[in-house]
Amino acid sequence: MSRRKRLAAPADVNDEVAGLIDALQDVEQRLAQLTSDEIDTVTNRDGKTFVLRRAQEYLRSSEAAKQVAILNALPAYIALLDAQGVIISVNEAWRQFGPAGAIQGPGYDVGVNYLEACDRAAGELFAAHQAAAGIRSVLAGRATSFSIEYPSHSAAQQRWFLLKVTALGNDHLKGVIVMHLDVTAERQVKETLHASEARFRQMAENIHDVFFLEDAVDNRMIYVSPAYEEIWGRSCESLYADPDSWRAAIHPDDRVATHEKYNEHKLVGQFELEYRIVRPDHSIRWIEARGFPVLDDNGTLVRIAGIAQDITERKQAENRIAYLNRVYAMLSGINTLIIRACDRDELFREACRIAVDAGSFRVCVLGLVDRDGMNIVPIASCSKDEELRSAVEGILSSTEDAPTNLVTRAISEKKTVVSNDLQHDPDTLFRAQYAASGVRSMAVLPLIVADETVGVLALYASEIEFFQHEELKLLTELAGDIAFAMEHIKTQERLDYLASYDMLTGLANRALFHERLEQNIVIAQEQDSKLALVLLDIERFKTINDSLGRPVGDALLKAVAARMADIAADVSRLGRLDADHFAVIVSKFQSEEQLAHRVEKRIAEVFGLPFGIGTAELRLAAKIGIAMFPADGANADTLFKNAEAALKNAKLHGERYLFYTQAMNARVAEKLTLENQLSRALDNGEFVLHYQPKINLVTGRVTSAEALIRWNDPRTSLVAPARFISVLEETGMIQEVGRWALRQTIEDYLRWRNAGLPAVRIAVNVSARQLRHRGFISEVKHAIGIHPDAAAGLELEITESLIMEDVKHSITSLQTIRSLGVTVAIDDFGTGFSSLSYLSKLPVDALKIERSFVVDMTAAPEGLALVSTIINLAHSLKLKVVAEGVETEEQSRLLRLLGCDETQGFLFSKPVPADLFESKFLINLPPGNIGTASFSHPFPNQTAH
C-alpha cells in the first residue's frame, strides 16, 4: 500500500517525506540521548519494534568486535608479528598480564621487533633463542607452524608455557601469530598421571600375577602385564595381536569346560576360572583367572579387568595332600586287614578292594610270580571299571613282554618301578590302552619274601604324576607289610590262628585281646583320647550250662558273640576271655555319660531279644564292669584288674553296669536321672521363660529384653539354667526346648502387642545344635509365620564362639535370618577370638559384651580400655553394643561414659516371669515412643552385609 502511495506522490510530498525522515532521525537521536545509548529496541503502542541505529551499527561491526573480544577473552598471550618480526598487535592478556620472566608481556610492546628482543634475552632464557629460531623458520616458509614448551620459573612458583607460532594466512611473508599458553596445570596433571602410571606399571610388572584389561566392546586387549610371558610362555605381543590366544593354550581336558564358562560369564564381565595351560615347552601350569566388570555410567560393560595367577604350586600341594591322604587311608585299611586276614586269598582280595575304595586307585592287581620266570599270575584284582580291570589283568599276564617292561623290571631289580606319565613314557607298552581308559600313572611294587620277589602289587592311578617320593615311601612300606603277611600266613597260617583266636566264637582270645588292648592304649595315648575297657559276664551262665548241658551253653556263647560282632564297629576290638566272659574296647566317646548310653544301647541290642535254643527261647542278661583309660589305669594289666573289680561290684550290687570309679558312677547316675526328668519336664510343660530387660543407657528406658529358660521342677522349685542346659545340649533335647522357647517368646510378644502394650523386641538364645541343624531356618520361618508382626519382635542371640566355628556357614544362615526381619546379636563377645576381617563381614545387628569384661572394667585400667575398644569397634562396624551382667552403679556409669548403647543386668532387674515383666516394665512404659525406639534400628544406615 505504501509503495503505491509513493509511486503516485508529487514533488512536495517527497519534501514532506524528507522532512519526516529528518524528524524521525532527530527523535531517534533524542531517544538515544535520553537513554544514554543503553537501549536496543523501542516498540510503538501496537507492539511494532523500531530498531535503534546504534544497535544496527553494533550488529554490523560485531563480527570484527567479536574476533577482538575472542582474542581478548583467551587466556593465552597473543601477538601478531609482521614479516620482519615486528609486533603489530597484541591481545589484552599480552598487554596487561605478561608474567615476569616469560618472553612476552609489557616489555614486548607493539612496535618492538620480537625476534631481536628474543635474541637479546638469550642470556637468561634458552627458550627465547629457540623461539626466535622457530619464528624465523615459519617466516621463511620452512615450516607452517612451530611449538615448544618452556619453563618460566620464578622464586614463588614454577610455571610452564607452550609457545605456538602459526603462519598468518597462506603467505608466510605476511607474518605470524605468536601465542604463549600457560600449561602449568596440564603439565602438573601430566606429571602426576605419569608418576601414578609409572607406579602402576612398576607394580604390575613386578608382581608375578598377570594383570589384564580387556575392551569388552571390541574384544581388544588393552593391557597385559609382563608376567603373562613368564606364566604362559607366550609373548604379550601375541596376546595383543590375538586377544583369544590365551585360550588356545588351555589344556585339552579343560578346554571345553573353560570355554563354556568363560563365554557364559564374559557377557557380564565377572568370572572365575580354574584351568590348566600347556606351555610351548609342554610343561603344564594351573591357572586361576578372575575377571571383574568395569561399567560406564549407563551400566554398560565396557572393560573387563582381571588377574590371572599361577596356582600350580598350590594345586600341587593340594594334590599331594589329597594323594597322601588316599595312600594313608589305604595303608591303614590294609594294615588292619593284615592283622585280621586269615588266608592269602582273602588278604589279596581285600587289599585290592581297599586300594580301590580307600585309595581311589583305578585298578589294583596283586599277582604272584610264575615259578618259570618272569611272568605274573594275577591272584586278585579290583576296579570300578570291569572292562579296564580285565584289560589290565590281560596286560600283566601277557607273555609278549619286552624285557624293559615295568613289571619285569620290578621283579628282576626288586625295586619299585614307576611311570608317572604313561602316555609319554617310551618304556611303557600299551600306552594307547592306558590312555583310552584314563589311566595316567602306574607303580609296580615287588613283594619280597626271603630276598626273593614272590609277587607284585600293581597300582594304576588316573592322575598324572601321582607317585611321588612320599607316596612311594608309604606304598613300599605297605608292600613290605603285605609280603610279611604272606609269609606269616604261609608258614603259620593255622597255628597262629589257633594261638590267637577263640575256637568257639572266632573272637580274639585273652592273649590276643590283651595285646590289642595294649596297642589301643598306645594309640589313645598318642591321640590324647579316652578309652574304656568293658568286661561282660553273662548272668546265670553256669546254671544254664549245668542244667541244659554244655552244647547248649556253647551255642548260646556263639550266638552272643555273633550278635556282638554284628553290631561292633570293629570286630578286632572284641574278645572272649574265658567261659562266659567277654571284653570290648570302646573309644571315640565324648563323656562317661555318652559311653554309658552306648553301653546301654549295646546291651539292649545284644540281650534285648531272646535267644533260640532248638525250639525254646531263652532270655539272657549280663553284668558289666567298666574301667577307663587313663583315669583307672595306664596299662592293660591295671585296666583289666580294675574292670574286673567293677564287674564284681556290679554283681554284688545288682547293677547292670558299674564304672570302677565310684564318683563316676554317682555322676553318671545323677546325669541320667536328670535327663529323664528333663525329658518329662518337656512333656509336662515345666519349662518357663523369664525375661530380663535391656536398658538404653541414655534414656534409661527398657528397649528390649532377653528371654531365658527356667525349669520349674515340681519336686524342688525353679532350677537355674546352669544345671540343665548342658544336659539338654548333650542329649539333643535342646532342639525341642529351643523350638518351644522360640514359639513362646513370639506368643508372649504378640500377646503384649495385641494388648496395646509397648511390646519390645525379645532376644532368644540359639544353641550350637540348633544353629547346625539343617531345619533351623525353616523353624524360625515357621515360628514367625504365625503373624506378620512376629519378626519385628524377635532377635536371635548367638555366641561368638559358635559363629566362629563355621564362619562361612554362619554368614549364610545369619543373612537368611536377617532377611526375614529378625535381628541378630553376637552373644558373649570377646570370648570367641573373632578375626576382625570376619567380624566386619558378619551380618549382625548388635554385639553383647561378655559379663567378665564388665567385671574387669572396674578392676584395672586395662579392663576399662578393653571395653572401650570393644565399644568403639562395634560402633565403627555400625553395631549396637549391649553390656551384660551390669551389677553396680559404677559399671553403669562407666559404660555410659564409654558410649555403650544398652545394659542388662541385676542392677536394673534380674530375669523375671512374663507377668511380672509385663506389669513392671511394659505397662509403666509410656506407650508409643518407646515401642518405636526399640524397633527402629539404632543405625539406620546399616545395610545387609
Binding site: I39, T43, G47, T49, Y58
Partner: protein, 96 residues
C-alpha cells in the same frame, strides 16, 4: 532467624543485542553479589514474545522489572551503574 524476602525479576531483552546482553550479565552479577540464593530471574525475549512485552507494557529493551518484593519497579538500560540500580530497586540497605 528472620526470613529475608525473595527477589523476583523479569528482564525484557532484544535477542542478543549488545545492551540486552550487557543488562543480563550485569543483572546476574548483581544478584550473585547482593542477593545470593534469594533471587529468581525470568527472561523475556521481545523478539520471540512480542505480545507478552506489549501486555506487560514494556516499550523499550532492555527493561528490568522487579516484581517482588513490592513495590514493582522498572529500570530501562544496561544496569551498568550498580549503585543506581540498587537504589532504584530499593536495595541500598543490602549493600550496607
Amino acid at each position: 532467624m528472620s526470613r529475608r524476602p525473595q527477589f523476583k525479576f523479569c528482564l525484557y531483552l532484544a535477542g542478543d543485542a549488545l545492551n540486552s546482553a550487557q543488562a543480563l550479565v550485569n543483572l546476574r552479577a548483581l544478584c550473585e553479589t547482593y542477593l545470593p540464593d534469594r533471587h529468581v530471574i525470568e527472561i523475556v525475549d521481545v523478539f520471540r514474545e512480542p505480545k507478552r512485552a506489549l501486555e506487560d507494557g514494556i516499550f523499550m529493551t532492555p527493561t528490568l522489572v522487579k516484581l517482588a518484593p513490592l513495590p514493582v519497579r522498572k529500570i530501562v538500560g544496561t544496569l551498568s551503574h550498580t549503585a543506581t540500580v540498587l537504589m532504584a530497586l530499593g536495595l541500598e540497605s543490602v549493600t550496607s
